[in-house]
Symmetry: C2
Subunit: 525 residues, 2 copies
């Protein structure tokens, strides 16, 4: 009997530790949502109640979901899918035509204006939420335990502070650039700034470039996004509350990378590497795909996917790619929603969507042709599939340059692609065993963790709910002025004291010497 009681007690204790919390989510639209949705599903499965704030015209975030309750703000953020699709085409064209610096700059500035506009609208959305008395009091009354947000926009940060909620980030990029640069010391001598294509071992001029690039990006971020969030903070919290500080004060940063992917660098105690939290063992393929894969025989299959943003490609690129793929003895499965390339081989099938994780996990999969998105690369590492990279925009070049450096990828310029170059890269990765050997080594490292990444992510979200934050894991060094943080005032003071002391000693010695000389002279006289 007493055993039964103790068993019940254990069950109750476990049930208590799996606290059923209320989580408010302020997501970032676009491909970022894909990751957030994976976390939300898992939170739902663990019994938590998730509420997602979304704009009426959200690009990715659906109103209806079995996993979350949504609050739709009657407001258009204008994710501008159309712009981003033409942006990709224009970017490729500029690179292909080797257009002038000014053409590229003009496109970059247009992109900057789009981001500027996006952040302005997100701030307006936050105002709309806070200043809708019915909405904000319903949010208050729901008594959420935590705000989960992607700090690629700052709406969730401001709203969390307004609602006095602890803050958890699902993050790789922040409004100010790469996440860790905002809170961990990042010596520019060995921490390459993202998008710089540098490694952690740089020559002198690479280090010069890294420093210039870092300051340029920081300037850009501050100009493009700073004003909106500063105005928002001024509006609700007065002039003494700085947006950048609110954001640095987040309790937990769930980072979407780790050091199998990234170069090692200083980190902070409240940064949790959840890395490939979406990776899982493969399920069986649908029958038609399984038949197709099996039909590849000993040659195996090649998986081609250019991500959600690049569903279509300019015809000339698709044709060159298809022509090269047609020459392979492998079968090819290509996720592609554009016009069927004229050079498509019999060995290639096109699909709108692929069960990517299950395909990577299939023993017949030999190579992944990728645009270089973080998720795809992490899944490829998890399953040990080497990569041929065709980076298009944003962090894709940087991601793939890391993979190339680690000996698991070949990278081809997609803008100037021709079938021979692409075929050569494909054959290199298919036939040279080192790519697979290296990728299998990375796979073993990525999988070898004391806690599964998803369990780790869930643990820390629940930790913040249990303890109402994680203040003991974060420094408040961000509140210091820069000259205090870098001890410039202390060094200046010590230099002053030392030079004062030296001056005094010299003066005394001089004075003594003068006196001695005078006495000598008096004696001589």
């Amino acid at each position: 009997m007493s055993t039964t009681i103790s068993q019940i007690l254990i069950i109750l204790t476990l049930a208590g530790s799996i606290l059923c919390g209320k989580i408010l989510v302020f997501p970032h639209d676009g491909s970022h949502w894909v990751n957030m949705n994976v976390l939300i599903q898992e939170l739902h499965f663990r019994g938590h109640h998730v509420t997602v704030l979304r704009a009426a015209d959200s690009w990715y975030v659906k109103e209806q979901s079995p996993y979350y309750h949504s609050i739709t703000i009657d407001f258009s953020v204008g994710g501008d899918a159309a712009f981003f699709k033409t942006f990709v085409f224009r970017q490729l064209q500029i690179r292909r035509e080797g257009s002038s610096f000014w053409t590229q700059l003009s496109l970059d500035m247009e992109l900057g204006r789009k981001f500027y506009e996006m952040h302005r609208k997100i701030c307006e959305m936050v105002i709309r939420i806070i200043e809708d008395p019915k909405l904000i009091s319903s949010i208050r009354e729901a008594e959420y335990d935590v705000m989960l947000t992607d700090p690629a926009n700052g709406g969730g940060v401001v709203l969390a502070h307004y609602l006095h909620l602890p803050l958890v980030f699902n993050v790789r990029w922040t409004v100010h650039g790469e996440a860790q640069f905002a809170i961990a010391p990042s010596p520019l001598s060995y921490v390459p700034f993202p998008l710089s294509l540098l490694t952690d071992k740089m020559t002198f001029f690479e280090r010069v470039y890294n420093m210039l690039f870092y300051h340029l990006r920081l300037f850009f971020y501050k100009r493009v996004v700073g004003p909106h969030y500063t105005a928002l903070c001024n509006r609700y919290f007065g002039p003494d509350v700085y947006y950048f500080e609110l954001f640095q004060a987040a309790d937990i940063w769930l980072m979407r990378v780790d050091f199998v992917f990234e170069f090692p660098r200083p980190t902070m105690p409240n940064v949790v590497y959840m890395s490939c939290f979406q990776c899982k063992p493969p399920k069986a393929l649908p029958d038609d795909l399984e038949d197709f894969v099996e039909s590849s025989g000993e040659h195996g299959v090649v998986i081609v996917s250019m991500g959600t943003l690049v569903g279509q490609l300019p015809d000339y690129i698709a044709d060159e790619m298809a022509a090269a793929l047609a020459k392979l003895p492998q079968k090819v499965i290509w996720r592609y929603s554009g016009k069927k390339p004229s050079t498509l081989g019999n060995n290639t099938i096109l699909r709108d969507w692929l069960p990517q994780n299950d395909l990577f996990g299939h023993p017949k999969t030999k190579v992944f042709v990728s645009h270089g998105g973080t998720n795809g690369i992490l899944e490829a590492i998890y399953h040990g599939t080497p990569i041929v990279g065709l980076p298009v925009v944003f962090d894709q070049h940087d991601n793939l340059s890391r993979m190339k450096y680690k000996g698991v990828a070949q990278v081809v310029d997609i803008a100037t692609i021709n079938q021979n170059v692409f075929l050569k890269a494909m054959l290199e990765v298919l036939n040279e065993p080192s790519y697979t050997i290296n990728m299998n080594r990375l796979s073993r490292l990525l999988r070898d963790t004391p806690v599964q990444p998803m369990d780790n992510a869930m643990f820390w979200i629940e930790f913040v709910m249990r303890h109402k934050g994680a203040a003991h894991l974060r420094t408040e060094s961000y509140k210091m002025p820069w000259y205090v943080y870098y001890s410039v005032d202390v060094i200046a003071f010590l230099l002053l004291v030392v030079s004062g002391a030296v001056f005094l000693i010299v003066a005394v010695i001089r004075c003594l010497c003068c006196r001695a000389c005078r006495k000598k002279r008096v004696k001589q006289d």
Copy 2:
């Protein structure tokens, strides 16, 4: 049938992952061994083979153990227990008598010489190992998987490099001071240097003190221990291999603290916080102790333990402590091997040894009177027992100042102790609920980890064995000269370029102005 086969496969896979490795241990003698021995026992229980290198006259490390095989080097390191015991007495006397700065300095220098001598002897022991052909070849032939060492001495570091073994540290202090200062960026504006008694929030003059103190300690460490290890490296690896680099290149640093105990600070990916890895739920007390504890009624018990180094105290201190403890309504259990204090109350029993963890875990335990050793404090936090601290030497002041800052301890100067002051502190911690409330909060934080600390420590030792190191988790920034690490050369170069450009522009403008003036003058003429 197929289910059975798959079950067998799973079991075999698990068995494979629980690799039975061979671990070579180069420990640090004294209280450091207590921690190392706990790790060794666990490694033994997990099926690993542990070999410990020890000097013939080792103070703590026994030759015979059910948990490890030992290799005794026929050599006297001279742990000098006698010196350290008199050192404690002399230290207390100096503080009680308020002796001059010079008396303190003279004692400190004597201590410095002892450490200097100890490190010299450890280096001699390493030479003795390497230059004994039979011994070193037997070590080589054993094909160890990893070197586990406490870098409070550098013997294990040099030996690991000599034997080409991956390196795991069980560490809080290194030869060069606090462990993290050696590898993680440590801004002195908010990272207090250990032994400084500072917190992570400092005034200007505290920051000045922190900087001076840091450089002073670094100078001390380099003078006291640097020469021996440098000579050792020169002897075996030539002039291009620096001891400090070998030591910074360790694969994994198992830190014996965490951020419930320490202030938050930057860290590195290869630092694993195992913190209270020796803490565990309490077992039942021996009958006599249980009866004594139960007899305390509602008042509960007080546990007094001054650690392994301070088994005895000067009579005047023991008498004052005993007199104060005699006045408490609580029962007192005192770990003490000295002469029975003349003022000992009826409520107090003395014991040579205590089942400390089981006593802390007893619901009747109210307060822990501690010298401030890290292990005891962590156990007290784990079980939620507030502290009255009587720091004696080394890091004890610093440890207890952290606990005082967190509102879980009162600290009394043991050197000038009198029964009234001690009694007041005891009553304060016994009667003011905030101490227990705060300690229970810390306890909840300390226990709330995704992996048990001991499992985490074991995982990472086994990780290093599985992957022959953990190179992907450590930077090689330690190989950079300081001016490269801090980008001084890059900043100087950029300043040069900017000032060059300014100079050129000014020169051109001047030249143009001069020409314009000349033309004007010519015209006027």
